[in-house]
């Protein structure tokens, strides 16, 4: 494998990581601040993608579809909060997992009822179409660069809000000790609603940004949700910084594993078993990494919650 190819693969890993961060950021916020396991975060990502594809088909423009899809994601998120999630905050994690799993089933089926079962597409906006040749015969799509930029911008903005503003201070305080925050006279319910709305918007944003690359279909959020949980567990639940670093880590491990493992296995196995074993091991690497992190740092790389 040449050095160029390795660099290209590292870039690919980075980009997958940034996309994972967009999904994981909302999840870790909600989980960290509200101590609420929202399995439905994946379907909120899916709804963002569907709304994006839907509005783009009507308006004929990605740039009009993006804000509309964000508003739609926000509205649906708030509706879910009022109808379902609000009643679960005080319950234990099992009840939350069951109820939000129910939301997954209902929304996956609902999406099918509204948009049909066939996959849909959101075209790449003309402004970001095309690519840059990064190695002979391979173009790096401009839209993927836009995803990296959007992810970095989101990370920066979230960091700024969480670390440098009063709301951010409350969020950090809420993540560490919500009862104390409430005792100090902060309206925790309003704080929760704000955090939840941000999480829903982030999920929707990730969905819209992913839709031009991935297939928009029922159940598309489920795979992403699992990876997002891996990210927040590695990063430390509730930590934006942890989510960012863990997402990049997971993206890199996954991509480099997929591209290098079959070749590495060839050192000890014959070609055809090396390919299959390499592929199988590569798909496990992320979870192996998570297990390793949990073994040495049970609270993740950047633990937030105080004892």
């Amino acid at each position: 494998m040449s050095g160029t190819l390795l660099l290209v693969q590292a870039l690919n890993g980075l980009q997958l990581g940034v996309l994972l961060f967009l999904v994981a950021a909302g999840l870790t916020l909600v989980f960290g601040v509200m101590d609420f396991i929202n399995l439905a975060h994946g379907v909120q990502y899916m709804l963002g993608a569907y709304l994006g594809a839907h509005f783009a088909a009507i308006m004929g423009s990605f740039w009009l579809a993006l804000p509309l899809a964000l508003l739609g994601s926000l509205a649906i998120g708030l509706l879910l909060e009022v109808l379902v999630f609000r009643h679960l905050y005080a319950r234990d994690h099992l009840a939350q997992v069951l109820a939000t799993f129910g939301v997954i089933l209902v929304l996956n089926q609902g999406v099918k009822a509204v948009w049909g079962t066939a996959p849909r597409e959101l075209p790449v906006p003309a402004l970001l179409d095309g690519g840059i040749t990064i190695m002979p015969g391979l173009q790096y799509p401009v839209f993927r660069i836009a995803i990296i930029a959007a992810g970095l911008a989101t990370a920066g903005l979230l960091w700024l809000v969480v670390e440098r503003t009063k709301v951010g201070m409350l969020i950090r305080a809420g993540a560490t000790n919500p009862r104390m925050v409430a005792a100090l006279g902060v309206d925790v319910r309003r704080l929760f609603t704000l955090v939840f709305a941000t999480g829903a918007m982030l999920a929707g944003f990730a969905g819209v940004m992913a839709a031009p690359i991935f297939s928009v279909e029922p159940g598309m959020g489920d795979t992403v949700l699992i990876l997002a949980f891996v990210v927040i567990v590695i990063g430390g639940i509730g930590s934006i910084r942890g989510a960012f670093i863990a997402a990049l880590l997971v993206g890199l491990i996954d991509t480099l594993g997929r591209s290098l493992m079959p070749d590495l296995m060839r050192l000890i196995l014959d070609a055809s078993s090396a390919r299959q074993a390499g592929a199988a091991i590569a798909s496990m690497l992320v979870y192996v990494a998570m297990a390793a992190v949990l073994a040495f740092r049970p609270a993740g790389l950047f633990p937030v919650r105080g004892g």
Partner: protein, 392 residues
Amino acid sequence: MTGIGRRGLMGASAGLLAAPMLARAQGTPVKIGLVAVLTGPQAALGTQLRDGFQQALRHLDNRLGGRPVEVVLIDDELRPEVAVTKVRAAIERDRVDFVIGVVFSNILAAVMRPVTEANTFLISTNAGPSTFAGRGCNPFFFTTSYNNDQVHSVMGQAAQDSNYRRVFVMTPNYQAGRDAVAGFKSRFRGEVVDEVFVPLNQLDFSAELAKIAAARPDAIFTFMPGGLGVNLVRQYRQAGLANIPFLSTFTVDEATLPAQGEAALGFYSAASWAPNMPIEANQRFVRDFEAQFSYVPATYAAQAYDGAMLVDSALKRTGGSTADKDALRAALRAADFQSVRGNFRFGANHYPVQDFWLCQVARRPDGKFQTETVRKVLENSTDPYAAECRMR
């Protein structure tokens, strides 16, 4: 004395009873258990299958062999244990005369014994695994699709015919993916530059696309069903690789084209049917199907349409009766109907003997996308397992 009397009475009444009984056979509905996956990520394929069958019933005035039809719709949920439970219920409680449909091979394998051991005919309109084509062939089993291996080998032959020397192969890492590679290689004589296996839940192909660019093959061969194929096709185009011919099976078809759109333009697939085939029965099917369901039918729909037409032709031959299984089997085997594919007959293992085509994605004048035939690759092709079948 009494015995003779009773026998005489029966003999006398037989003539009288025969007429109303025939009339009743004509009047009672023939019951069909239609099995398709209608929920979950692969539901689009099951929906195609269901709609193709429904379209055939519309063309037949909701009658099969002159008898009214009652369809028991079974959603297999792509879960073998669910499929078995529901199909058993359809046979034992609803007493269906035929079980038709089935998109996926693992579902077919699960329902095979429950259906055929109840002496009920099972007609697969999509799944065509090699298990039931060779030694495992069954007198109560027919398929109107193909043997899976055939489709992959057609692409191997097409690559051979196009004089591609170096081909890059990429499939998901599970049994069907490995079968696809084997099928392709069975007819391709050139060099396979690299074989890449990806997990079934793969999202991002950029690592693999970089590998393809580095290998610079004459063509790639891939089998990426459903959403996998949508992701791959769009990312392949976005990575500027579309100048490398994209040979595929079950990756670009009318079920995925609405989402792949322009990105799939010019990509190749192998099939025994395409919507543009200039056969009268096919044009009528495609036109009326689109008018009814407002989307372009794929092979799943076409083969289900043929499945209904097959049953109709068989029941016409037996006068609507399903009682004599041997007569019904002979009538099914005759395949006396006009397939939307043109040439169609059954081999000794009840799998079709048919032509296979190289197809290519094209944009129609109305802006929709469909696969269109490029050239015939195999003629009257029998699957490689038929010789092993000893029908008992």
